[in-house]
């Protein structure tokens, strides 16, 4: 059999290397084949044919950040749940299913509190004023 030092890391690295190779190969092919007639007008950012006004790197609404914030907390919680979930069945077979279930559920219940809080406070609404006005109309 194969020594374990050749375990799954090698294909992962090879695939990443292939992506890089394909990227540079494609660039090289396009350098060889593509025409090169640069002009100032061609390389202006597209703004429906008008002269671009200002830079696009301007400020954005905070709600993007709030979405990212909720995401990262849930992401980390799911990361912590993965090893416990993968031995859950094993624990159940060992007769410790109840114990595992209590641990797992108490962990998830905190997660649910988080999403319930954000829901209650309206962080999950994308456009607050719009939705509240809709509710008023329907009332």
């Amino acid at each position: 059999m194969i020594p374990a030092s050749f375990d799954g890391l090698m294909p992962v690295v090879i695939f990443m290397g292939l992506a890089v190779l394909l990227f540079f190969g494609g660039h090289y092919a396009s350098v060889l084949l593509a025409p090169k007639k640069p002009s100032h007008l061609k390389s202006t950012p597209y703004e429906c044919g008008e002269q671009p006004v200002g830079s696009a790197w301007s400020m954005f609404n905070v709600r993007f950040y709030v979405v990212g914030l909720i995401f990262i907390i849930f992401d980390v919680e799911s990361v912590l749940m993965f090893p416990v979930a993968s031995i859950f069945r094993e624990l159940n077979d060992m007769g410790q299913g109840g114990y595992a279930l209590i641990i797992f559920l108490s962990f998830i219940s905190v997660l649910i509190e988080g999403i319930a809080y954000c829901w209650r406070k309206g962080d999950l609404d994308w456009v607050k004023s719009f939705q509240s006005s809709l509710k008023k109309e329907t009332k």
Partner: protein, 178 residues
């Protein structure tokens, strides 16, 4: 052989991109260099046989923290993040001239040598074990540790995350201008 190559490339990526974080003045580029550096650290974890920690590193940092930082950069004034008055390595000139750097460097060197001298005794008495090439699966062991030995840390971390979520949501919530 392959593992050594992986180690060398990951170490290069880690250190090189960390230097990039230090040297570049554009904050967006800094974030991307940080991504490269953290990816290198993930590779180093993989060479240490810590497959679960490596993938966690990729998942939390690459998918989460870096995106959050990119968002934060965008939310705090777009392009206006190029800092002024820096010399080599991105250090601001207010931090000192060549004399401060050379004296500080000397002191640091002396301290480093002293520390190595001190630590080498400990290192020799607890000689590292000879490590074979085997990389056993860590996932189920980590799972067992999380539900047995470290169950308190596991549960409390969820409370910590809840606190972080609530606190950060309160701070960052858009509010009306007075």
């Amino acid at each position: 052989m392959f593992i050594q190559l992986l180690f060398a490339s990951s170490a290069t990526l880690t250190v090189g991109c960390a230097l990039g974080v230090l040297a570049t003045k554009n904050l967006m580029h800094s974030c991307i260099f940080l991504l490269g550096s953290l990816m290198g650290v993930a590779g180093l974890f993989a060479t240490l046989g810590a497959d679960f920690v490596a993938v966690t590193q990729i998942m939390v940092y690459m998918g989460g923290v870096v995106i959050l930082m990119l968002f934060a950069v965008m939310l705090t004034g777009g392009k206006d993040f190029i800092s002024r008055a820096q010399n080599l390595l991105g250090l601001p000139s207010s931090m000192g001239n060549k004399w401060t750097y050379s004296v500080g460097g000397l002191v640091g060197l002396v301290l480093l040598l002293t520390n190595i001298r001190l630590i080498s005794n400990v290192m020799n008495s607890h000689a590292p074990k000879v490590i074979g090439d085997e990389y056993p699966s860590t996932v189920s062991q980590i799972g067992h540790l999380l539900v047995k030995d470290h169950v308190l840390a596991f549960e409390i971390s969820s409370v910590l995350l809840l606190g972080a979520l609530v606190g950060a949501a309160i701070i960052a919530r858009p509010r009306k201008q007075k």
